[in-house]
């Protein structure tokens, strides 16, 4: 059952865009190959060629040494290749069990054997036991799950065929650190079993930790390959992006606690409650970058949505000393709030509309009647170049952008409004290092200009490197506050698990 | 309005008279009407005059309620209407059928339960089901003959018909063709359906006028005549064609309007009376009272049709009279009508 797959000179074009340009890849049983590259470099496309979803224009796939042509994802599955898709392949209306076993339902006399199906699902869920809510059960419809739980189901679905080659396309992007660790334990185990694993991620730490070898894509071309042991993180970054030096680790010059204390409190929240929040109180100063940490699904999303007026809540919210109660995002926007939501495709983008319209939807009201289109194009173009957005033009539909570039559009539409309060729900998910560095600079600049930022991230390094303070959430409450010296990785993880209560730094 | 005695009985019955179940003394009759289409003035007037005529009988203590099953529906829906009437235990059913064969089984079921079934307006060829209505073919011949004569037996015309294939339309168009056969020099340039509504008739006529600028005349029927006339008035062609009208006050208004511009204007309007249904109600009541139908007076495909003569024909001779008397206090949508009196329907029964 030892497997080997090699892809030779794969080319794939989408209209004028060359997604893959003679790309190569080699993987063998028992190893983890990190497929890395900047946003839009072709990683997802490459994985989709390997699993039969995309038909390459040219090039060859060799499976176990024999040339292979997958006519459909089904053919690839039959050959033992399974995939965790970046944008998930789950049917929302169907239950966890139905999703996991779709096309491979256990049968008895030709009919589906539900009992066996439930049992097998429970067995699979046990692999991640303890890292998700009790809501995640075999017979729950997937649409009722949180993003990280959906991600886990997607992983289990891929694993359930007992594949020889497992492709993980940004499978860790929505997972919290505990879930990632569990996944890595499993990956190590699967490696021992002789499975081959393709691992796509933008988190350098994860790559360094798990991968045996790497393969780097730049603009659809394979620009480097080798053993992980022989390379440093900065070597890889240098391969990925053309400009040599990019800050791969979040860093920002922070004001001291004293300095912050002298500023006025611009956002104050008292006893905020929603279905998921059990009374949250916090204060943020003008120009402060407040981090929100914790495991996935502890109410961070609700906190941001409620502040943005998108969820009904009880409690008091005070902006610049004035009590407000926003019941619709547009009221929040009018008060200078902006939210970069967590699920880019579902909540942030208008897929078939142009980049221009995506950037300008919150702002059309500023362009008069009839709309001043020239001015709208100019401002949108400025933001796009400021974010280094790679696109064919402002009139291109966003559906053709890579994940990371699409995320830039979501951020860009709020930058156009110069918000005074910026709420960020895991904004760097799926963003490459170059864009991340640019984004970090942007955050720093916004803070300096006096923007108040509330920043939830599933990436602990970001929180540690960037934030003035981090509030860790657990079970719908703020369980601890970390800042200055107490803001360390260990403390963050400990607080996430709800184990200890850290004292705030004086 | 009354009925000119075109079909007045003269001779005594020859065939064996049919017997209707005689009601026990003192029992009041319940009559049901099933109507599958209400969105037209014809049907409106029909239902209203049924109610009025039934009121007469109710006041006389002969019938009690008139059960009305009337809604826009399809064949299945009308079957349901009829079943409901049967389940409500009516003594007679008047039915304006939406389909010539589709109701047969259901009507037979009613007949087998001893219910008197009369099809109004539309002739059915179903055993034991009576029909009450005008002779559609003759109705069309009247105006077609007038048109042909007015054209002096020659010219180019177009025809706007109702739903192709609808039995009434088929009978009417047969009548028109029969007449036109006698006038070989009248050429039919085109024929199209106005679907029996004014707006479509108007649209079709507009098309015709654009395609045939030198039209000599046209034949049409019912409400389409108003639409067609509107189209001609709007297009205002250099030569005003010879037009066929309809027996409705609204058309008479157009006629009057045209007369003001052209005192020599002439047309014809033949009434298609909704009153055949209340006439049918009178026949039903008489049958329920045990009167025997004089079968020799009946006509139609299966010899079960009460043929009602056309009550009103408007031409230039009686236009002013009809327009100023009948239409004076009626809405524009009023259809020239005629309901036989109880005395008049006696002609169909054995004395």
């Amino acid at each position: 059952m030892a497997v080997s797959l090699s892809a030779r000179n794969i080319t794939k074009r989408y209209g004028a865009v060359v997604a893959l340009d003679e790309a190569n890849l080699e993987i063998r049983a028992g190893e983890v190959l990190a497929l890395i590259g900047a946003n839009g470099s072709g990683k997802s496309t490459f994985t989709r060629v390997m699993n039969g979803v995309v038909a390459p224009d040219s090039g060859q796939l060799l499976l176990d040494g024999r040339p292979m042509r997958f006519a459909s994802p089904r053919a690839a599955t039959n050959a033992g290749i399974s995939t965790v898709f970046q944008e998930l392949s789950l049917v929302p209306q169907m239950t966890v069990a139905e999703n996991i076993w779709l096309t491979r339902e256990p049968l008895r006399r030709g009919l589906i054997d539900r009992t066996t199906e439930q049992r097998r699902t429970a067995d699979l869920l046990a692999l991640f036991a303890g890292t998700f809510r009790s809501d995640l059960a075999p017979d729950v419809p997937v649409q009722a799950l949180l993003p990280d739980e959906k991600q886990i189901v997607e992983i289990l679905k891929a694993v359930s065929i007992n594949p020889r080659l497992l492709i993980l396309d940004e499978a860790t992007a929505s997972l919290d650190s505990r879930q990632v660790q569990r996944l890595f334990e499993l990956v190590a185990h699967w490696k021992e079993q002789g499975k081959a694993i393709v691992f796509v991620s933008h988190r350098m730490a994860e790559i360094v930790q798990i991968a045996d070898r790497y393969s780097v894509l730049r603009n659809g071309r394979t620009v480097g390959e080798g053993a992980m042991a022989d390379a440093t993180a900065s070597d890889l970054v240098a391969l990925m992006v053309e400009e040599a030096a990019v800050a791969s680790v979040a860093q920002r010059a922070r004001p001291s606690a004293e300095q912050l204390a002298t500023r006025r409190v611009s956002l104050q929240v008292d006893d905020l409650r929603t279905a998921e929040l059990n009374g949250v109180s916090l204060q943020v100063h003008e120009g402060e970058l407040l981090g929100i940490g914790g495991l996935k699904g502890q109410g961070q999303r609700d906190l941001l949505l409620a502040l943005f007026g998108s969820l009904p809540y009880s409690g008091r919210v005070t902006l610049d000393g004035q009590a407000v109660h926003c019941s619709h995002p547009r009221e929040a926007m009018a008060r200078g709030l902006a939210l970069v939501p967590g699920e880019r495709g579902r909540e942030g983008l208008l897929a078939i509309r142009s980049i221009l319209e995506n950037l300008q939807i919150p702002s059309w009201r500023d362009y008069g009647f009839p709309l001043q289109m020239e001015r709208a194009r100019r401002t949108a173009g400025a933001v796009a170049s400021r974010l280094n957005l790679i696109m064919a033009g402002l009139d291109q539909p966003v559906s053709g952008l890579s994940g990371g570039n699409a995320q830039k559009v979501v951020i860009g539409k709020w930058l156009l409004r110069n918000p005074r309060f910026l709420l960020l729900d895991d904004p760097t998910r799926g963003i490459d290092v170059g864009a991340k560095a640019e984004f970090y600079r942007l955050l720093a600049q916004l803070c300096d200009e006096g923007t108040t930022i509330v920043f939830y991230s599933s990436d602990d390094d970001e929180l540690i490197g960037l934030c003035d303070r981090v509030l860790v959430m657990h079970d719908g409450k703020i369980s601890s506050e970390l800042a200055g010296a107490t803001l360390t990785a260990t403390n963050l993880i400990a607080a996430s698990l709800g184990a200890t209560r850290q004292e705030a730094t004086p | 309005g009354g009925a000119p005695g075109a079909a007045a009985p003269t001779t005594a019955p020859a065939a064996a008279p049919t017997t209707a179940p005689a009601a026990p003394a003192g029992k009041k009759f319940t009559i049901g009407i099933s109507n599958p289409f209400i969105s037209s003035e014809y049907r409106t007037q029909m239902i209203q005059s049924l109610i009025d005529v039934n009121k007469e009988y109710m006041d006389a203590g002969i019938t009690n309620e008139l059960v009305i099953e009337s809604a826009d529906t399809d064949v299945a829906g009308q079957i349901q209407q009829l079943q409901n009437l049967i389940n409500k235990g009516v003594d007679a059913i008047l039915v304006n059928p939406s389909d010539v064969n589709g109701l047969n089984d259901t009507l037979q079921e009613a007949v087998s339960k001893g219910i008197i079934v009369i099809s109004v307006d539309q002739e059915l060829n179903t055993p034991n089901v009576y029909n009450v209505g005008i002779d559609q073919k003759e109705w069309a011949r009247i105006s077609a003959r007038w048109l042909a004569e007015k054209l002096g037996g020659q010219g180019n015309i177009v025809l706007i018909e109702g739903f192709p294939g609808h039995p009434a339309n088929v009978a009417r168009m047969d009548g028109v063709e029969e007449v036109l056969k006698e006038y070989p020099n009248i050429k039919v340039l085109a024929r199209d359906t106005g679907k029996w509504d004014e707006a479509t008739g108007q649209q079709v006529m507009s098309n015709f006028l654009a395609s045939f600028p030198n039209l000599d005349g046209y034949w049409t029927q019912d409400g389409m005549a108003i639409g067609a006339m509107q189209a001609v008035l709007a297009a205002n062609p250099s030569k005003f064609p010879v037009v066929v009208g309809e027996g409705r006050c609204q058309f008479l208004q157009l006629w009057d309007q045209r007369l003001k511009e052209d005192p020599n204007f002439e047309t014809i309007a033949v009434a298609n009376p909704p009153g055949v249904s209340p006439t049918g109600l009178r026949i039903a009541v008489n049958m329920l009272q045990g009167k025997q139908v004089d079968k020799s007076k009946l006509g139609g495909a299966n010899g079960l049709s009460f043929v009602i003569p056309v009550p009103v024909i408007v031409t230039k001779e009686n236009f002013q009279e009809v327009f100023t008397t009948v239409c004076k206090d009626k809405p524009a949508t009023y259809l020239l009508d005629g309901i036989m009196t109880d005395a008049e329907v006696q002609q169909f029964f054995v004395k």
Partner: protein
């Protein structure tokens, strides 16, 4: 390798022109007489106007997404045509009040549709279908089958008769109307928000678009436009009957589709719907002139629709 693409409105206009030229070749077509051809062309465009105006509301509702469609348009046209007819009652002075009434009543019915769709989450197809029944019922209750009234001379003059250069008023009204629709869709916040909610309502909401308000507004507007359609239709025909609007309903949807508006929402134009209305009117008129029976007409209409949507209505494939 670029795929040959053609903009749907353009494709529809081209088809209309080809059909028109073809109709000239028929035995009783205009042949090579430019005067008759012009008269015929004007007549066709004039007949397309009413369908075109009614299709405007349909365009907006369909672009707004969420399976948006307005099946009550036909019934609303009928109701407002009857209202216009009775209110005007032959008097020029009553024309404006009648127009106002048509717009208000149409808008109110549209608003009820909007409430059902936006607040009660009823699927638009069945909500508007149900409302079509309710409005038809209302017409029966109100008229009891009898409609009396008359249109005013000024309406005939403005709508049905030539106004300048032999062009009927209805066509001029339509041209101005088309420009307004373009402005509304492409150059106002409303238009941009409309495309946004048609594409993704969650995104739209989180970008500050008042989704509920937009949905309510769009259905109300569709009702108003159907009301305007009813007003124009009766102005043209000069007569009403109790089903005058019915024949416009399905063609209004077909016109939108032929014009390339995505029935799933978020993409489309009114220019397309205008071209679509022209195509449909032409086909009907062509087949009438050719003396084809109803069966052939329907089949031709079906095949044309299938062809048009096959040209540009194809959806993305799963395998890329």
């Amino acid at each position: 390798m670029r795929r040959l693409t053609i903009s749907p409105p353009l494709a529809a206009v081209l088809l209309a022109i080809v059909l028109f030229l073809l109709s000239g070749l028929l035995p009783n077509g205009f042949g090579n007489n430019p005067d008759i051809a012009l008269a015929q062309a004007i007549n066709i465009v004039r007949l397309s106007v009413f369908l075109g105006v009614i299709a405007a509301g349909q365009t907006l509702v369909i672009i707004s997404g969420g399976e948006g469609i307005d099946l009550s348009a036909g019934a609303v046209v009928t109701l407002t045509a009857i209202l216009t007819y009775t209110i005007v009652n032959g008097q020029d002075a009553q024309v404006l009040p009648a127009l106002l009434a048509a717009l208000v009543i149409g808008g109110a019915i549209g608003l009820v549709n909007g409430v059902g769709v936006a607040f009660l989450k009823v699927a638009p197809l069945v909500m508007t279908l149900g409302m079509a029944g309710v409005v038809s019922g209302l017409i029966l209750v109100l008229t009891q089958g009898n409609v009396s009234g008359a249109i005013a001379p000024i309406m005939t003059r403005l709508i049905a008769r030539p106004v300048v250069l032999g062009i009927p008023g209805a066509i001029l009204i339509w041209a101005a109307f088309g420009a307004l629709m373009w402005l509304l869709l492409e150059r106002t916040r409303f238009g941009k928000h409309l495309f946004a909610i048609g594409t993704n309502r969650t995104t739209a909401r989180l970008s500050g678009v008042n989704v509920t308000g937009m949905v309510l507004g769009v259905y109300a507007l569709s009702g108003m436009l159907a009301g305007l359609g009813g007003f124009l239709v009766v102005g043209n025909t000069g007569v009403v009957h109790i089903r005058i609007g019915d024949p416009f309903l399905f063609p209004s949807i077909a016109a939108v589709a032929v014009g390339g508006t995505l029935l799933s929402g978020g993409k489309g134009s009114y220019a397309g719907a205008m071209a679509g209305a022209l195509v449909l009117t032409l086909i009907t008129s062509l087949l009438t002139t050719m003396q084809q029976p109803e069966s052939i007409r329907r089949m031709v209409l079906g095949v044309t629709l299938l062809l048009m949507i096959s040209i540009y209505g194809r959806q993305r494939g799963f395998r890329q």
